[in-house]
Amino acid sequence: MLKKIASLISAPAAEAHCDGPCGVYDPASARIAAEAVLSMTKKILALEVPAAGDAKAMAAYLNTLTRYVAIKEEQAHLAKSELLVLWTDFFKPDHLKAFPELHDTFWKAAKLCSACKVEVSLEHAQELMDAIKTIHTKFWSIKGRDVAYYTAS
């Protein structure tokens, strides 16, 4: 009897959920990663090759170059992941009305992340930043908030 009453008043959970950590999305995370990619690309291009025969300077050069490349790889991949999360989780089919070029923008931005990994291209790193700025503007206009775009560096 008590068990029966307990089960009647146990009130099982009815989920009024969202699958993600509700509503916490911001293109800023992709922008920070893309900025690191741009910065590493600039640093790699500016690095001076030491004179031949200077083993110590060569070791330092290779070490620095390797670090820059590793960070560029990692941050380009991170930028891509952050973009994919926004694309597939935040944006819903109804957002296509406000942002008809949504799929093309994200597809190209994700491809730019790959290009930045493979190449040492200032042009592609800058295009990635521009794509993220476009996404930032659309994202916040869909959320109905006026959030100014900025970069950390």
Partner: protein
């Protein structure tokens, strides 16, 4: 959690006896069942933690109507019950479900229409 839930369902009389609140008995006697809302996708209509009455017999002889808040079985997750509002009822009775708070809702926009047999009942109100 359990204690706060219990606090809404039972009360203590002046003589110190613990009884199920009359309005709970009344609801149960009418065939309604209590469910606890979790999450924020039904804001501002239903808040996280709220207890609601569900009429599980509501759709035995009738179909859901757009605007109804329903308890539904998730279309492909086992043992997950959903609380959402019906946005549209298709000709075959399947329902397009939406959260009242679309920014924080996973609903038919991602999992598609929910078949009629997975719509378990209609929310008839909150337990005050």
């Amino acid at each position: 959690m359990l204690r706060s839930l219990l606090g809404r369902v039972v009360e203590t009389t002046r003589r110190g006896r613990t009884l199920v609140r009359p309005r709970v008995v009344w609801g149960l006697a009418r065939g309604l069942r209590l469910y606890r809302v979790t999450g924020e996708s039904m804001l501002p209509s239903y808040v996280d933690g709220e207890l609601v009455w569900v009429d599980r017999r509501a759709y035995r002889g009738a179909r859901p109507v757009a605007g109804d808040v329903v308890l539904a079985r998730h279309p492909y997750r086992v043992d997950v019950l959903l609380l959402k509002r019906v946005a549209l009822v298709a000709a075959d009775g399947s329902c397009e479900l939406r959260g009242d708070n679309p920014q924080a809702s996973t609903d038919s926009r991602s999992f598609g229409r929910v078949p009629l047999e997975r719509i378990l009942g209609r929310v008839s109100g909150s337990l005050d």
